[in-house]
Amino acid sequence: MPATFIQPEFKVDIDRDKCIKCGRCVQQCGWGVYSFSERPIPDDSKCRACHRCVTYCPVHCITIKKNELVFRENDNWSPALRKAVWRQSETGGVMLTSMGNDKPYQRIFDSLVLDACQVTNPSIDPLREPMELKTFIGRKPDSVEVESDDKGGYRLKPGAGMTNNIGLATPIMFGGMSYGSVSLNVHKSLAMAASRLGITMNTGEGGLHADLYPYTDNVIVQCASGRFGINPDYLNRGVGIEIKVGQGAKPGIGGHLPGEKINKEVSTTRMIPQGTDAISPAPHHDIYSIEDLRQLIYALKEASGYKPVGVKIAAVHNVAAIASGIVRAGADYVYLDGFKGGTGAAPQIIRDHIGIPIEIAIAVVDQRLRDEGIRNQASIIAAGSIRSSADMAKAIALGADAVAIGSAALIALGCHMCQSCHTGCCSWGLTTQKPELTRRLDPEWGAERLTNLVHAWSHELQEILGALGVNAVESLRGSRERLRAVGLDAQTCEILGVKPAGL
């Protein structure tokens, strides 16, 4: 019997005329594709198409091709489904994957277009005029109460005004990615970039490594169901605390970091024994309902001197009501993670079939909070997946206060989306703890690339705002009048609160 019916997905093609037999491909590949016997010999079945060898081949003699194996066509039984059945009948297991949903669902962002000024009002040139992106994340009072300052002016009444908000220089945050799932160098790159940019990085659920303590003014610490690395010091170190209830890639599912990724450093940071699996339960076992969430929110506020506490949830069918409950429970922000959000490891069946698009989630949550008159009580952060500054602008126009990026940040650091984070063999040194791989990422280089990316998106957002004729991002926020839908059905338009183009 054959060991497997599944044939390699890719073919590694080496131009033998060009190859100088230097062996660098052998050294670079984290998946063990290459063996060397007078020349590199690839094992196609191990290739993930991550392009590490392609990038580092000094003579550009490697090409990764799709294995064009023809299957008898059947729209119902795609080759992917047939392979899944074979794989599961071989192993009896749950298929794991990583990064975001790769199925061809409709991408609503791509059916939304933005407005621009013509004649009746001037567009604004961001190169010549101020164009403000500053954003505050957190609870705002209903109104500003003032009193006379006895000098002919006014001052805030004692206790009035905005308190405990997280200031962002631009409405972008780095989404939560735990130390353990990603390497320490990734965390350092994110923290250094966040600090330079005046934004925040998010620890994810794996605690905060001591090397990141200098950057804690730009760190949001996460409290997830596994409670890894949480102690009073941790809660007090960041500028805010995030309770992670769910993740767009795997709503309703916990996490599992295999023991081989728990080295000494990860073990210290997570406060768990070295080599043991780090398992986050599916629910928080102290949150079985909304009133329990309220208790945890306030417990964390008490423990941290009333830092802003946000709640991250996956976008699911009833997201509007859930978000309303979260805001009423006292959260300072609601982090909505759409079903295309990334992950370091998730069951494929969950990743690809659970949750709703982020565009819909933003629209219904923003509208619900407005209908209930509590929109000012919490900020909305949108993620999963924000792929460009255009997605960001559209998310903000739909009602998000800021966006969070995870996949985009990893791509900036070299990720090629080979969807194999869960293997711990990342050739780019991002989602691995193997020292020979993690050292491939220089945090200084990584921070510069992340800084560049966020600067670029911010400049593009400024260009968009200028075209829209406004000079501050708050005038785009929730301004769905500046969006039009092209090719969306009437009901989707209605849910989004966006008119079709032409109206």
Binding site: C117, V119, T120, N121, P122, I124, E129, P130, E132, K134, F136, K140, P141, D142, S143, V144, E145, V146, D149, G153, Y154, R155, L156, A160, G161, M162, N165, R370, D371, E372, G373, R375, N376, A397, L468, G469, V470, N471, A472, E474, S475, L476, R477, G478, S479, R480, E481, R482, A490, C493, E494, G497, K499, L503
Partner: protein, 410 residues
């Protein structure tokens, strides 16, 4: 003109019964003026006509209007209703409503004269009204609430009737035409007021609706506005969270409600309300002394959705003075001048020179810096507290039946 409106929360297309303007946001430019004698001395409305007439190029004959304050000294405590009727049936029905709620002390046709260029005028009547005391007591409302309630009732239930203004000792005179024609049509030179605002409209569609001309009024607030508010989408959604419904689709409506929200409901001082609507830049805020910085940071963060972004110049008139305000980077013209007690503002200096040839001071107000005229000895604001749900206030001035579903008040 299409009679369809877009309803985000209802069906996609829903015929609007009484939407007189386009259901889409009205784009356009305009000219404006405002003049106030802070001593309270009253003067003829011909001054306002002169100032707006020299700015003729700023309009296209599709709308002009004025509001005068202190013009009915013989009826200072009556609510002066300026009414527009499309036909006699509308008049009969509206009058029945007015008589049910008010003691009508005087009802007369608006004095007008034939003017070349003014055609298709609706029936124009004015009424001096006092609330029926028994009914007022029954409804347990303040007189202001009561008036707004009735205005809403007329606008929403009487087809073809529109309340152009409803404040005390003030009135709006507006219509389709060039403003100087409208002014002559209404014989404004016969009226004397201490504050006048005027407007010359250049809409880029053709509404042809008298009620759609400026000023836009609510009780005795009146707003004239030049510009386009590019943040209209979020401004209107922000107002919706407080129960307002912006159904007229004009920037002016949004500006009026924002002033109402900030001044009357949130009780912000006028200066700070202007700062909330046209805030300083963050880099300016960061350089402020600590106390002021904290105040402005809160003001800007809390009222970010209320910021009027995009080009505008606005004059807000009220019984007690007026405020002129430019957008935060001054994208529309606004000139101010003072001579003695008289403060005047206009889109163009020519307008000011026309009525005030030799001002003591003439200046271009800085972006976001309000120019405020207050009449000495007059209380401000004078509305008292309104306790009506804001949705009703909105209905009152928009006259759209569909907007009168009860809105949840935050």
């Amino acid at each position: 003109m299409t009679a369809y409106d877009y309803h985000a929360n209802g069906s996609l297309f829903e015929p609007a019964r009484y939407t007189q303007e386009s259901p889409f946001k009205i784009h356009g430019g305009c000219g404006l003026m405002g003049i106030c004698d802070e001593s309270g001395t009253r003067f003829s409305g011909s001054v306002a006509i002169e100032a707006i007439a020299v700015q003729r190029d700023r309009g296209n004959g599709l709308g002009g209007g004025f509001a005068g304050y202190g013009i009915y000294p013989e009826f200072p405590d009556h609510f002066a209703f300026h009414m527009m009727y499309h036909d006699a049936k509308a008049k009969d029905e509206a009058e029945a409503v007015l008589e049910r709620f008010f003691q009508v002390d005087l009802a007369e046709p608006m004095p007008t004269r034939p003017v070349k260029g003014i055609t298709d005028a609706p029936l124009l009547w004015r009424y001096f009204l006092q609330p029926q005391p028994v009914k007022l007591a029954d409804l347990e409302m303040t007189p202001e609430d009561y008036v707004v309630h009735v205005v809403m009732l007329v606008n929403s239930t009487v087809d073809g009737a529109f309340v152009a203004s409803s404040g005390k000792n003030m009135g709006a005179f507006k219509g389709v035409g060039y403003p100087e024609e409208i002014g002559h049509y209404f014989q404004l030179e016969e009226y004397e007021g201490h504050t006048w605002v005027g407007h010359n409209r250049f809409p880029t569609n053709t509404p042809g609706w008298w009620g759609g001309a400026h000023p836009f009024t609510l009780l005795d607030w009146s707003i004239v506005h030049n510009g386009e508010i590019s943040s209209y989408g979020i401004n209107s959604r922000y107002l919706e969270t407080f129960g307002y419904k912006c159904t007229l689709g004009t920037d002016t409506e949004v500006a009026a409600y924002l002033f109402d929200l900030l001044l009357r409901r949130h009780k912000l001082p006028l200066e700070l309300a202007c700062k909330a609507l046209a805030p300083p830049l963050w880099e300016q805020i960061e350089r402020m002394p600590e106390e002021e910085r904290k105040l402005m940071t809160s003001l800007r963060a809390v009222y970010g959705p209320a910021m009027l972004n995009g080009p505008f110049a606005i004059v807000l008139g009220f019984n007690g003075g007026m405020v002129a305000l430019n957008d935060r980077i001054k994208l529309r013209p606004l000139i101010a001048a003072r001579k003695g007690d008289i403060l005047t503002v206009a889109s163009e200096e020519s307008a000011i020179r026309q009525i005030m040839p030799d001002p003591d001071a003439l200046w271009a107000p800085k972006a976001g810096e309000p120019v405020i005229a207050r009449i000495r000895g007059m209380e401000w604001p004078i509305h008292g507290d309104l306790h009506l749900p804001p949705s009703e206030i909105s209905c009152a001035v928009t006259g759209v039946l569909d907007s009168c579903e009860p809105a949840e008040v935050a």
